[in-house]
Point group: C2
Chain length 261, copies 2
DNA sequence: CGACACCTTGAAGAGGTTCAAGAAATGTGG
DNA sequence: CCACATTTCTTGAACCTCTTCAAGGTGTCG
């Protein structure tokens, strides 16, 4: 069975919203008993620190599929920790060209681009219905002056994003289409696995065009490359359902080992 | 006349080194009277804060052209503010492939990649003799808990790097060779101009191959594209000396305006 | 001055794009 | 629940950009 990206299928249905769903105070919020804590918050906190950490989250917010969490040009106020759902971030040229800069899933933090100029420089679009924890950045800064492990954690999150982008630059700068798609699939499935999902099956939340934009390829090339992988017996593809049959083969494609051929 | 990248031609020659140049304590260090302060440190500090800021820099270090400031895999200890000189950072695959992820000049901070895993994930190579301020990261964290503007500054530096990399991803993912090289030249000259150099002349500190690696092109393509720009009368090129004759033309190449055919 | 690194240019070839058509899935309204 | 419109995906064929391979030129440094 192919699992979805959403983690919280065990969610405790918050009583059928008597208030409009966007009301920031409608939902009781607490990191301290969130099952995603180990993904988006520092670990090894004592209970006192844990209580303080709860203060970073101002509210939760639901984002419908296809709508934006924030847009290029909007005032930057908060970072967002993804609770459920799946996002893409993309930047745009004036001339309409745009580039998907990343896909984000539960437990990942989004909005770091906005810090430097107090305005967001990319769009964050929900690719499925999503829920995020809203974390006002001044509150994060305030708290991380007092809780050392939070400070360190914030720095690590930003550094991790920088390192991730280095990897994407390597991919875009020096890999061929098959290598790019193989690396993409391995990365996705590895992140899903870290969230308790299958190592071999996944449902793509994005279109071929969005994959192509991320990988610097046209959608036709993505489609053809999928077909090639299928021919070679490396994966099974039915629309957005992908089953990886031969993980090693994918690894070999990304990192052509010296002893091969 | 074509200027070099180095900013400190007005440097007060530190007396002919009676100690080995690498000795971390040989040189008196102070941000408060550094002419690069406005580039690498927060602005609008009161004098008390300025004194505190001086504590961030543990020492200076000279790096000879062609040698590394740090290497992939090395323990991460410090960030480095470039005082003089010019660097490239590059990541490498196991299979020998590598990718230049950026070129850094005076006033820019380098080493952010190391924070997340306590180890550097890329190499920083001096492309000309350079000098950096060594800023132990735990000291930065300590101080930024107390000096709010430093905290904010550190966050902005990291966010700026993330946004810069978004731009590179856009370039690598969706631009053609001419667009890439035009964008590259405009970016370089703009950063040099911010440091008091010419808007139209520059000396490349890197080889065609390094430019190519950064732009996701082969060195031959870089060379051919330079030649094309020369033919079109947009730039003059004599080896690494570049004079931009028509900045608008370069801008039009990067951002094909709708009204231009 | 000679060795070496770097750069330029040409010609052939490969990989990816573009254009086009049709198929499959998805969503919408009656 | 079905018919229809729309979006998404696949595949083919021609084309184009960039790469590869090769050779020669230029500059630099011991």
């Amino acid at each position: 069975m192919i699992q979805t990206v959403s983690i919280c299928n065990t969610s405790k249905h918050e009583s059928p919203a008597p208030m409009p769903p966007m009301n920031p105070h409608a939902i009781k919020v607490a990191c301290s008993n969130c099952n995603l804590r180990e993904l988006c918050m520092p670990m090894g906190l004592n209970s006192d620190e844990l209580d303080r950490i709860d203060e970073v989250v101002a509210a939760r917010r639901k984002i419908k599929r296809g709508t934006t969490l924030f847009r290029n040009g909007e005032k930057f106020v908060s970072l967002y920790a993804i609770r459920t759902g799946f996002f893409k971030t993309c930047v745009a040229c004036e001339d309409g060209r745009d580039q998907v800069t990343g896909f984000q899933m539960a437990g990942e933090v989004i909005g770091l681009d906005g810090i430097v100029n107090d305005h967001h420089t990319c769009d964050a679009v929900a690719l499925e219905d999503a829920e995020v924890c809203v974390m006002p950045f001044d509150r994060i800064e305030e708290l991380s002056r007092e809780v050392t492990s939070l400070q360190r954690h914030v720095h690590k999150i930003m550094s991790r994003e920088i390192v991730r982008e280095h990897g994407v630059m390597l991919l875009l700068g020096s890999m061929r289409a098959e290598e790019r798609l193989a690396a993409f699939l391995l990365n996705l499935v590895q992140r899903l696995h870290a969230r308790g999902f299958s190592q071999s099956e996944l449902v793509l939340r994005m279109t071929r065009e969005e994959i192509g934009s991320y990988l610097g390829l046209k959608l036709e090339t993505v489609s053809r490359t999928f077909s090639k992988f299928v021919e070679d017996g490396i994966v099974e593809v039915r629309q957005r359902h992908v089953r990886i049959i031969n993980t090693e083969a994918l690894r070999d494609i990304v990192n052509p080992s010296p002893n091969a051929v």
